[in-house]
């Protein structure tokens, strides 16, 4: 069995990163010019890493599937980015940010990684301001902060409702500067199809040019994957339509272990599904839960009448409303964490009390807040969100309560990496949402942006150099080498096989099916029986897909259906791994809720004695069972506790 070496540096927690940097290997400037690095993905992690590595003097080749590096899905993040600046003088510190993040992750993240994340968080804000990112300011000209869930301090920096977009444009600017300088070569509308290994090390990638359909070969001394998360395995999610797991999945199939695949985050306040043609879900900021009260009808017959459109919620008297979060969690009420709020909504809807024409929605009601504060105050606080809701749903939330339902929006799991963000394949590094590190079993709000930029600006430029120091005499890998030949043959074979099926079912119909299986059995509530059924269902779906999918056209030129088919075939396989991981973890923690493991009050029950480890899965073949490796988690600087939201 391969031994997992997390490579956590020696020394006290607060000195580990400093010690690492002081003793790591460096590459001299003349040698950097001889080294090529491939970066896949141009979101916060990939874009910032590519720019920073190029600034150091490396040759960087960057790939993205969109038409421009500025369109990566990081752009959709709204709320903000955390940092331990303590500008408001409210008691924040690096330790406190570290502590909140580990606790928020329900004690399933590595202490040393999270501490480093908190440590460099302040550098990120400095860097972004220097780039001209227009963060919100106070009248005195200083940066403004606001609060987010899971914290007792105000440490979130924001740029109106588009923090992700502005941070990404900062990284895109830095990348553009390096492209102009000539040390970054940018390849857009390219999709990674394989990682090419030589002597066990990552030495290149095979990509498909999405415009010409041709396969292209690119060699390097190291490869960085920053290809985002895999929320789209659920079909309906808040992820962008083209977000996919394929780059990470190809790496997994080449030997990179997959960490915590079943850890996904489900956000409670999304606009509900409204029809079977629906393509994606829209998130409404969780700040709405500050003033909105969540409820469903107390009587099932009322819920049924609402579902049929025979009754309006405004006509349901106060005594017939069930404010279930306030009922179940008197101390935290409507402000319980995301995972708890999501599960409670599902429970009510499963029991038949859901509203909307599908019965899969709950109300978020601002009536009391409007009565108490006046409409103008509510408008000032949430006007833009109310307007967005109105545009999509065509209902005025000032008059009728909003309808919301949970949706998938982030994956904590990803490729397993050590402290240096290197996978189990030497030379293959993974950053941002694509790796598993930092968030444990649940991510706190405003921490995704922090992690992406921490990895890209401040961690990978150091750790990749540490690896590359002894690669300076390694010659460039010839793209005509047998390794590339073999990879291309394999990829081409797969594409030919897909195109030859010419069955009767569309790619999207399979994507919907895998999404439904995942949502029903590997979603908010999981059980042994359900997970076993999911594994079987996914196996037969895989068979069905490879016999009956229909992809029109061929492999010459642009073929959008073929692009989707490759991604969906990977989602089906990944779904199975997620189910296996969830099945093997006989406990509930963070976003992973196993129905068998809950307290009498229905709360998540961790099993620290048996499950305080990182699950890292090794691929053994498409029809073989993957092998589970365990990396023990040691908490030396934090006292491990059970979360409680019923009493303060």
């Amino acid at each position: 069995m391969t031994k997992l070496d997390s490579k956590i540096p020696e020394g006290p927690l607060a000195e580990k990163w400093t010690n690492f940097k002081a003793h790591q290997n460096l590459v001299n400037p003349a040698n950097k010019r001889k080294i090529d690095i491939i970066v896949v993905g141009t979101g916060l992690a990939g874009g910032s890493a590519a720019a920073s590595l190029s600034e150091l003097g490396f040759n960087v080749k960057v790939f993205c599937i969109q038409d421009s590096p500025r369109r990566a899905h990081s752009i959709a993040a709204q709320g903000g980015i955390n940092a331990a600046k303590n500008y408001p003088n409210d008691g924040d510190s690096v330790y406190r940010l570290f502590y909140d993040t580990v606790k928020g992750g329900d004690y399933r993240a590595r202490e040393a990684n999270v501490y480093r994340l908190a440590e460099v968080s302040n550098n990120i804000i400095d860097q972004c301001v220097a780039q001209g990112v227009p963060f919100a300011r106070e009248y005195g000209g200083m940066l403004d902060n606001r609060s987010f869930g899971g914290a007792l301090v105000s440490r979130t920096f924001y740029a109106r409702g588009q923090t992700g977009q502005q941070l990404l444009l900062g990284a895109y600017g830095a990348l553009s500067k390096e492209i102009k300088k000539g040390s970054v070569k940018m390849y857009t509308r390219r999709e990674m199809m394989d990682v090419v290994l030589k002597d066990g090390k990552a030495r290149g990638i095979l990509v498909r040019n999405l415009v010409t359909g041709k396969l292209e070969r690119y060699g390097a001394h190291a490869v960085l994957l920053a290809s985002g998360g895999y929320g789209n395995v659920f079909f309906l999610s808040t992820n962008a339509m083209n977000s996919n797991a394929s780059a990470a999945w190809k790496a997994y199939k080449r030997g990179a272990f997959f960490g915590h695949p079943s850890f996904v985050q489900i956000h409670p306040t999304c606009i509900p599904v409204h029809g079977n043609y629906q393509s994606k879900l829209t998130l409404m900021s969780e700040s709405l839960r500050n003033d909105g009260r969540i409820w469903v009808p107390k009587k099932k017959e009322d819920a049924q009448k609402i579902q049929k459109g025979e009754l309006s919620p405004v006509n349901i008297p106060e005594e017939d409303r069930d404010y279930y979060l306030e009922r179940r969690y008197p101390a935290f009420g409507n402000l319980v964490p995301r995972d708890v709020a999501s599960r409670a909504a599902k429970e009510r809807c499963d029991e038949g009390y859901g509203v909307g024409n599908t019965g899969l929605a709950v109300y978020l009601d601002f009536k009391d807040a409007i009565n108490r504060l006046g409409k103008s105050v509510i408008e000032a606080r949430y006007g833009n969100l109310f307007q967005m809701y109105d545009k999509i749903v065509d209902e005025n939330p000032y008059e009728t309560p909003m309808m919301i339902y949970p949706a998938i929006h982030y994956t904590m799991g990803g490729i397993w990496v050590d402290y240096e963000l290197q996978s189990t394949i030497p030379g293959l590094f993974v950053g941002g949402e694509a790796n598993f590190s930092d968030h444990g079993a649940n991510r706190l709000g405003a921490s995704a942006l922090m992690q992406g930029l921490s990895d890209g600006y401040f961690v990978l430029p150091y750790t990749m150099q540490n690896y590359l120091a002894d690669q300076i005499n390694v010659p460039h890998l010839d793209t005509d080498s047998p390794e590339f030949e073999k990879s291309e043959k394999y990829v081409q074979g797969n594409l030919d096989k897909l195109l030859a099926i010419k069955g009767s079912k569309t790619v999207d119909s399979f994507h919907r099916k895998v999404g439904l299986i995942m949502w029903d059995y590997v979603g908010m509530g999981r059980s042994k029986e359900g997970l076993e059924k999911a594994i079987e269902d996914l196996k037969s779906l895989r068979k069905d897909f490879w016999s009956n999918v229909n992809i029109p056209g061929d492999n010459t030129g642009m073929n959008v259906e073929l692009e989707k088919a490759v991604r969906v075939s990977d989602f089906i396989e990944l779904g199975e791994l997620m189910a296996r991981d969830a099945l093997s973890r006989n406990e509930s923690c963070g976003g992973h809720f196993r129905e068998e493991y809950q307290t009498e009050e229905g709360e998540a029950m961790r099993d620290d004695e048996n499950f305080m480890f990182v699950s890292a899965w090794e691929y053994k073949g498409v029809d073989e069972e993957p092998v589970l490796h365990k990396e023990p988690l040691n908490y030396e600087n934090i006292e491990v506790k059970q979360r409680n939201y019923k009493t303060a």
């Binding site: 720019a51 920073s52 600034e55 969109q66 038409d67 421009s68 500025r70 369109r71 899905h73 959709a76 804000i125 400095d126 860097q127 972004c128 301001v129 220097a130 780039q131 001209g132 227009p134 919100a136 300011r137 005195g140 200083m142 940066l143 740029a159 109106r160 588009q162 502005q166 895109y172 600017g173 830095a174 553009s176 500067k177 492209i179 102009k180 857009t188 962008a240 339509m241 409204h274 029809g275 043609y277 629906q278 393509s279 829209t282 545009k391 999509i392 065509d394 600006y457 401040f458 430029p461 009767s504 569309t506 999207d508 229909n550 029109p552 056209g553 030129g557 642009m558 959008v560 259906e561």
Partner: protein, 246 residues
């Protein structure tokens, strides 16, 4: 609702394109415009035909990827939204809807409704950033910025680079796009250091790439899904003039 769609089909950049008419049936008023196209494509694929290629990604109105010219307007008949946030309730049952790609020389068609907007990236590369490397920067609060300018910079920075301004302009001018970036950085102290170099270089690049001149029709502002103001164009002209006389 039932609709008749007249869609521009073009196999690739070099092929000749033409309008093809497709009927669609039973479309929900609550569907988004792109979901309506998904329904059409699903039907085309089921019948073994090639689906209509169009760019899209976040479907939340922020990535700037979607780019359809609908009934003569970039992003269609609703105001201040991208195509992905346009809903079918803005159309009438039985209506004929004409769907074209962005029509502008610097944005050649790649396939059907997809165009190549990489000239926007080239303009940004010519100077649309602050030339600062990672690390070694001062603490964020050592640069106080008055709130009014910070807010104006944010207004300009809200541009999503979709290209609707170019598509709306009879001259295919990129002035609104370029001025949004020039303005954002001109309004902030961080951007002042290279302001002269930036505006000269970006304007020259814009001209090189074949974007047309601005004749102040304000069509760009009217069609911008993010309500970027033409005041940015005035600010850029001032910056440009200052750069040329100093």
């Amino acid at each position: 609702m039932d609709l008749k769609l007249k869609i521009w089909r073009q196999a690739d950049a070099n092929a000749e394109g033409k309008f093809v008419t497709y009927p669609v049936h039973n479309i929900s008023q609550d569907a988004s415009f792109l979901e309506m196209l998904d329904v059409l494509n699903e039907e085309l694929v089921t019948n073994g035909k090639e689906p209509v290629a169009f760019d899209h990604d976040c479907r939340e109105g922020i990535c700037g990827m979607c780019s359809l010219f609908i009934n003569g307007r970039p992003h269609g008949p609703d105001d201040s939204v991208t195509t992905c946030q346009l809903h079918m309730r803005k159309f009438k049952d039985g209506e004929t809807v004409v769907i074209e790609p962005w029509r502008a020389k610097p944005f050649p068609v790649i396939k059907d409704l997809k165009v190549d907007r990489s000239p926007f990236d080239e303009i940004i590369r010519s100077g649309g950033y602050v030339s600062v490397n990672t690390g070694g920067v001062p603490d964020a609060n050592t640069i106080p910025i008055n709130k009014e300018n910070a807010d104006l910079a944010m207004d300009a920075a809200a541009c999503i680079g979709c290209g609707a301004c170019v598509a709306a302009c009879k001259n295919a001018s990129a002035m609104l796009f370029v001025s949004a970036k020039v303005s954002q950085l001109a309004l902030l102290p961080q951007g002042k250091v290279e302001a002269k170099r930036r505006v000269e270089s970006m304007v020259a690049k814009m001209d090189d790439l074949g974007f047309g001149n601005c004749t102040n029709t304000y069509a760009c502002e009217a069609e911008c899904p993010k309500d970027i103001s033409v005041a940015n164009i005035a600010r850029m002209n001032r910056e440009f003039l200052c750069a040329k006389v100093t």
